[in-house]
């Protein structure tokens, strides 16, 4: 493996980071807070979601620490409820939903379509401010005592029985939701209207396709969550409403409305990750993504099917057998486009010239973990097994495999992959490979035992459990510690690399995307002049011709 690398860096003795770039164009706090530049907004987002990730992570650490022993000893049961609720809310709405789209997506989208900026730069900035306001509201909620409804705001628990800060938590999610709507709206408009000459739909990188699909979900799903949470808040304030059976309301209606958003939301979280994986797998196999069109359409198919499966969260909540049957069948359908992606990536690897730089390690980890997460989803989508497995740790393990094993792995893959473009400097390769490996081991140690715990019948959302489950829980907590180290490492060495990393040059990976054909870090306008797209996406022969020409001309 030692010689097998595609990285070529410029001669470090003479190389300089370009003096004029988006980071150095203007200075001062205001030039950041009032910026319209998508790359700067992406940077702001990156800092803020990392902050929330570590808060959510700390809460997860406390949860695992409590579960180290069967007794309810570290925190009171009430506090435990608040811990997992705040963990869920922060991780879902303040990390996973904005993670790839608002950071990597914001940074790349205009460059990938060959534009100077997103279509609506001010709206983009507004979306960051809404995110921050929502985040501050959530932090305030946490400081004054938190909320213990679970991230799902289940009624009538949330509207009637609890004495915690449901309204401020709901409004915080409402505000953050609008931030995500605006990001999605901006992406859709940009992809439709801002493509450079020659950039046809089927020349777009797959990252753009998958973000497009996620944007559709954001734009259509999030408003439904907004009105649902508004109704929950009204119901709580005025003690009259449509969800609480005590007033003649229907708690199932809440479930339908909530999951109408929150099921598509899991595709909002994972689809952009798929995009990252497509880019990374192609670059480090030196091959065009196998079945480009199929992968592109499978993103859209996931977005469409994603809207028709929400009731599989409600199989045991009293929906009719017939609708359970229909929703179960529709759920199986989603497996098809997801499998198309995994197979196509596998075929891309086949006979490719594979190298194992850090982004590729994360991407390969993603493929394995997401496949397990996806397949266990089929267990839960089948009505028969779901009755046994639902509300157990099996569910917890399943969605952590998809969200953490899937989305977080792809997020880290993307951050490493585009770090040289973003900052102009390389991250240190060896230690980051170690971090990728640590994450993978820690992740499996944390969450695989939870599948077994779930099948054995350990319920989720309890602070205490019968002693016979302790061994597996100790494994899980130990794994969480390893995982924590795996996530701390990138923070440390990426920060280090800002000053001491090797200078990356324009295209250290020899990747084909338009973003790699400009300087790193890019100019505020991205390209010196608007590019003209005259080749297919992932055309490595075109790249080779370009590079040969450049050498010849120098």
């Amino acid at each position: 493996m030692s010689a097998a690398t595609i990285v070529t860096l410029p001669d470090q003795a003479t190389a300089r980071i370009p003096k004029m770039n988006f980071l150095t164009k203007e200075n001062g706090l205001l030039s950041w807070l009032l910026t319209g530049d998508h790359k700067r907004i992406a940077t702001l987002y990156l800092i803020s979601i990392t902050f929330f990730f570590f808060i959510g992570g700390a809460l997860a650490g406390l949860i695992r620490l409590e579960l180290l022993t069967p007794q309810n000893d570290l925190v009171a049961a009430d506090t435990y409820n608040k811990l997992f609720s705040m963990h869920g809310l922060i991780m879902v709405f303040f990390f996973l939903v904005p993670s790839v789209p608002a950071t990597i997506g914001n940074f790349l989208m205009p460059m990938m379509v060959g534009a100077k900026d997103l279509a609506l730069p001010k709206i983009n900035l507004l979306s960051w401010y809404l995110y921050v306001i929502g985040g501050l509201m959530m932090l305030w909620t946490m400081c004054v005592g938190g909320v213990d409804t679970g991230w799902t705001f289940t009624t009538p628990l949330s509207t009637h029985y609890l004495n915690t800060h449901v309204v401020s938590a709901a409004m915080s999610v409402f505000v953050a939701g609008f931030s995500s709507i605006l990001t999605g709206l901006n992406f859709i408009v940009t992809i439709h209207k801002m493509r450079c000459p020659g950039m046809t739909w089927f020349r777009l990188p797959l990252f753009v396709w998958s973000n497009y699909a996620a944007s559709i979900l954001m734009v259509l799903g999030t408003p439904v969550l907004a009105i649902t949470l508004t109704l929950v808040a009204l119901e709580r304030i005025f003690h009259i409403g449509v969800f609480d059976p005590a007033f003649g309301g229907d708690p199932l209606l809440f479930q339908h409305l909530f999951w109408f958003y929150s099921h598509p939301a899991v595709y909002i979280m994972i689809l952009p990750g798929f995009g990252v994986i497509s880019e990374v797998i192609s670059t480090f196999s030196r091959k065009r993504v196998f079945g480009y069109t199929a992968v592109a359409f499978s993103s859209v198919a996931i977005a469409v099917f994603g809207f028709f499966v929400w009731a599989h969260h409600m199989f045991i909540m009293g929906i009719s057998n017939y609708s359970a049957l229909v929703f179960s069948l529709l759920t199986m359908l989603v497996a098809v486009p997801s499998a198309i992606k995994i197979y196509n990536w596998a075929f891309t690897l086949y006979k490719g010239s594979i190298t194992f730089e850090t982004p590729m390690l994360y991407a390969i980890g993603f493929m394995g973990l997401f496949t397990i997460g996806g397949l266990t989803g089929v267990f839960l989508g089948a009505t028969g097994t779901d009755i046994h497995l639902t509300e157990t740790y099996f569910v917890v393990a399943h969605f952590h495999f998809v969200m953490v094993g899937g989305m977080l792995m792809s997020f880290l893959a993307g951050i490493h992959f585009w770090w040289p473009k973003w900052t102009g400097r390389m991250y240190p390769e060896k230690i980051s490979q170690l971090a990728a490996l640590t994450t993978f081991i820690g992740f499996n140690l944390t969450f695989f035992p939870q599948f077994i715990l779930g099948t054995l019948g350990m319920p989720r959302r309890y602070a205490a459990y019968p002693p016979e489950f302790q061994v597996l829980n100790v494994f899980s907590t130990a794994g969480a510690t390893v995982l924590g180290i795996g996530y701390l490492l990138p923070i440390l060495y990426l920060t280090w690399s800002l000053k001491y990393g090797a200078i990356a040059g324009d295209n250290p990976w020899h990747a084909t995307g338009l973003e790699w054909q400009t300087q790193s870090p890019p100019l505020t306008e991205n390209f010196p002049e608007i590019p003209i797209m005259d080749h297919e996406a992932y055309d490595y022969e075109w790249l080779e011709r370009m590079e040969r020409k450049e050498v010849a001309s120098v």
Binding site: V189, T190, M194, I227, F238, Q519, E525
Partner: protein, 253 residues
């Protein structure tokens, strides 16, 4: 490309802020047409999100109405069809004046633009005023659920409310069903309230547009903002066109 040429070209691109294109064209757009297309398309997508937002409310309404149909019918009898119709008319006329305002902006007629914007503003205020009168009526009759001692008297004993009884001759509701009229009024206030909130935002934006239009901002060929605001105004209008029969005319269709 080497870094030095990139810098040189970047610097020259930055040095010529407004070349041959008009001042209102933002730098990241290639042409004015692209700018108009993009913002217009963005507005349509925003309205799509609004459809989904109100969609959640309409779904809740539909389910509750199916469950508690009689409570919804008698609840709706408490609304004044006269005021409701008047408000519908006001809004439809305001849509017309708004459309005329957009046309005036496109035709670069500043006087006409100001006139029609002003008319739209007045009609918007009129709508909110009438809505206020109706809400006040509900408040006086204790038909505001949640905050002002809800009274079921008019539904348990319709004859106690002679004005409404004279017109509809409603039969008394059972205590259980009479309680569900609260559900009706909750949705009534939630839906009309959400609609009124959109109207208030619209009226505020109208003031902003009016002030800018006085300086000739939209009659120089750059009417995008007026046009997009027009779309918003018509959308809020259409929401009312659905709310009116759903809330006022339940027993009449």
């Amino acid at each position: 490309m080497s870094d030095s040429t990139a810098i040189a070209q970047g610097a020259s691109a930055g040095a010529a802020p407004h070349g041959e294109h008009p001042s209102y064209q933002r730098h990241h757009f290639e042409t004015v047409g692209q700018q108009f297309d993009a913002t217009n398309f963005a507005m349509w997508i925003f309205l799509l999100t609004e459809v989904m937002f109100f969609g959640g409310l309409f779904t809740s309404y539909l389910i509750m109405r199916n469950w508690y149909y009689r409570a919804f019918v008698e609840g709706s009898h408490q609304l004044s069809i006269l005021w409701g119709t008047a408000n519908t008319t006001v809004l439809i006329i305001s849509s017309f004046t708004m459309a005329m305002a957009v046309w005036s902006a496109q035709m670069r007629r500043k006087g006409a633009l100001l006139l029609f914007l002003g008319l739209t503003f007045l009609l918007g205020i009129a709508f909110l005023g009438i809505k206020g009168i109706e809400w006040h009526e509900k408040w006086v009759k204790h038909h505001v659920p949640g905050i002002h001692q809800y009274s079921e008297q008019a539904f348990l004993n319709p004859a106690s409310d002679p004005e409404v009884f004279k017109e509809y001759h409603d039969k008394p509701l059972s205590p259980g069903m009479a309680q569900k009229t609260e559900e009706y009024f909750f949705l009534y206030f939630a839906m009309t309230g959400m609609h009124a909130l959109h109207m208030v935002i619209g009226v505020c934006l109208l003031v902003y547009i009016f002030i800018r239009a006085r300086t000739g901002a939209y009659t120089n060929g750059h009417f995008t903002f007026v046009e997009n605001f027009g779309l918003y105004w018509h959308f809020v209008d259409i929401i009312w066109i659905f709310l009116y029969p759903l809330l006022y005319l339940i027993s009449r269709y």
